[in-house]
């Protein structure tokens, strides 16, 4: 152990000259064999499971009827433009609602997490608000606001279009959910981060804005996206007030012919938006995690 051994006998090979040794090649072969086996298992099990599901559906006695009344391609093409018009209204409502929800829920979350004594009454109000709107079914809130507010015969508010009232109901409910998600993100940031920021002379607000929120929001991005996708679908509920968006439009078309293909068309339109959105957000998140964390195989 105490003998001198220096490895400076031969000059080490430069990166360009390096050739993997035999045992490294054997390890690589073993690794790719493992991954080939993994892929083979994945493909086989997928084919078996999906094949079995398709087989069960297609061989069922009612399949020919279902195929004709739900998957009528030519009828689907025919109603697509009119349902798409309705879908554009859905997208517009989502765009407006999500901005309102983002602003309001951030405000509610900040009020609920603030510790200032002056904010105490607002904290209580915010808590009551969240309890009420998170605990009431969305469809009831839409009905109560959509039919209740016009019946009040208030000056401006009662003359608002049901589309506006329905969207307001959705905003009120979703603000309750999203505020709680944001609050949990804020609370998940370790107190030492706040201490570090305050010790640099940042004010409470600056600490929130530059240190706590960026970390907290990033951590709750998956649940926030979840809520966004959910919002995209729930916006269709304004149809119960008689707003002709995609689902209502599909219902109108279905009632004309008793063929349900328009519903499937509407479903596909929603999927075309939600699936890429989910994949995109997953990628953005994975990148930001990879950028901040150390490498490692474990």
């Amino acid at each position: 152990m105490t003998t001198d051994r220096t490895s400076g006998d031969a000059p080490p090979a430069s990166p360009e000259e390096w050739r993997p040794s035999e045992h490294e090649l054997a390890r690589r072969a073993a690794r790719s064999a493992q991954s080939r086996r993994g892929i083979a298992i994945a493909v086989t099990s997928s084919v078996v499971v999906i094949g079995a599901l398709v087989a069960v559906v297609v061989t069922s006695s009612g399949w020919p009827v279902v195929r004709d009344t739900f998957f009528d391609v030519s009828y689907g093409r025919q109603v697509l433009p009119i349902i798409f018009d309705g879908f554009k209204l859905d997208l517009l409502l989502v765009a407006i609602a999500s901005v309102c929800i983002a602003v309001l829920s951030m405000a509610v979350a900040l009020v609920r997490t603030s510790r200032s004594p002056a904010a105490a009454p607002f904290r209580i109000l915010a808590t009551v608000y969240v309890d009420f709107f998170r605990g009431t079914p969305l469809i009831l809130v839409i009905l109560l606001i959509g039919f209740g507010v016009p019946a009040l015969n208030l000056p401006t508010v009662s003359t608002l279009d049901v589309t506006v009232l329905g969207t307001a109901a959705i905003v009120l409910t979703y603000t309750g959910y999203v505020a709680e998600v944001i609050r949990s993100g804020i609370l998940s940031v370790h107190p030492s981060q706040r201490a570090a920021a305050r010790s640099l002379g940042l004010s409470n607000v600056q600490t929130m804005r530059h240190v706590v929120l960026p970390q907290g929001i990033r951590r709750v991005m998956p649940p926030l996206l979840n809520d966004f996708v959910s919002l995209l679908k729930d916006v269709g509920l304004v149809s119960i007030l008689g707003v002709t968006e995609a689902i209502q439009q599909a219902q109108i078309e279905t009632n004309k012919t008793f063929n349900y293909t328009p519903y499937v068309v509407a479903a596909l339109l929603f999927l075309i938006v939600t699936i890429p959105l989910t994949r995109f957000t997953d990628r953005v998140l994975a990148k930001s995690i990879a950028r901040q964390n150390a490498q490692g195989a474990a």
Binding site: T2, T3, R5, T6, S7, W18, S21, A298
Partner: protein, 251 residues
């Protein structure tokens, strides 16, 4: 001191991150019951070398032989290997959502399937040995850095590893706390634990090392007994490094 098969042997280990070559042709022999200390500037590859030993990093080439078995071979179960190699990190890496006792007993209970009562008895025994018995119910955030690092050492020891790796375990601690952690490592040496230690504490290295290895730019530049490498280095790079350490007042 020397035995027939060394407990750990590295042959021609090579590791790169992207285009950056971090370790190049690293050979290391660690016989059982010996302590090998890795020294070198930050970024010289000490930490990467330790992480390559317990397969937290995959190596590009070379052999990592533990009891004569190549750990880098994907046909071995890495989880099974890691049970026999404990590692202690610079940043403690305790689980903040678990009490000290749960941190220590987790692997015993979940991996080794030791009954909870028995695992806790073992943990309390170890905690007592390192004068931490009163901290068993605390959460890591409530402890001082030195206490946290000692808990991390106990956690690694709890699964009875045959080899312990220490990755600059005192770098995040003040001098008083450094001593309380290093005392633990000295105790382990007395017990005959085989260890590979990356450190900047040259005095400590002199005391515990059977072999000191100086790394620079991912290559082993000089190695030998501490008296030779630390107090009478021959390679100009080692001399330069130790002079700078000396100027920084750490020798």
């Amino acid at each position: 001191m020397t035995t027939a098969t060394p407990l750990l042997e590295l042959r021609g280990v090579r590791k790169s991150f992207g285009t950056e070559l971090v370790l190049r042709d690293v050979d290391l022999v660690v016989p059982e019951h010996t302590v090998t200390v890795l020294i070198g500037a930050s970024g010289s590859g000490k930490s990467t070398l330790l992480r390559c030993i317990n397969q937290l990093e995959l190596i590009d080439d070379g052999l990592v032989l533990f009891d004569g078995i190549d750990l880098a071979d994907p046909r071995h179960d890495a989880d099974e290997i890691r049970q026999r190699i404990g590692i202690v990190f610079q940043a403690f890496n305790l689980f903040p959502h678990m009490s000290v006792l749960d941190n220590i007993t987790l692997a015993m209970r979940r991996v080794q399937k030791v009954p909870r009562a028995q695992a806790e008895a073992t943990a309390l025994d170890l905690l007592g040995r390192f004068s931490l018995a009163d901290k068993a119910a605390q959460y890591p955030d409530r402890l001082s850095g030195g206490q946290q690092q000692r808990v991390a050492i106990v956690r690694a020891l709890a699964v009875s590893p045959k080899l312990m790796l220490f990755d600059e375990v005192t770098s995040a601690l003040d001098p008083v706390l450094v001593n309380e952690v290093l005392a633990v490592v000295r105790d382990l040496r007395q017990d005959g634990m085989t260890m590979v230690i990356a450190t900047h504490e040259m005095g400590f290295a002199t005391q515990v090392a059977d072999e000191v290895v100086f790394l620079a730019g991912g290559v082993i530049v000089e190695r030998g007994a501490p008296d030779h490498v630390i107090h009478a280095p021959r390679d100009p790079q080692t001399q330069d490094f130790l002079r700078r350490v000396h100027e920084a007042g750490r020798l």
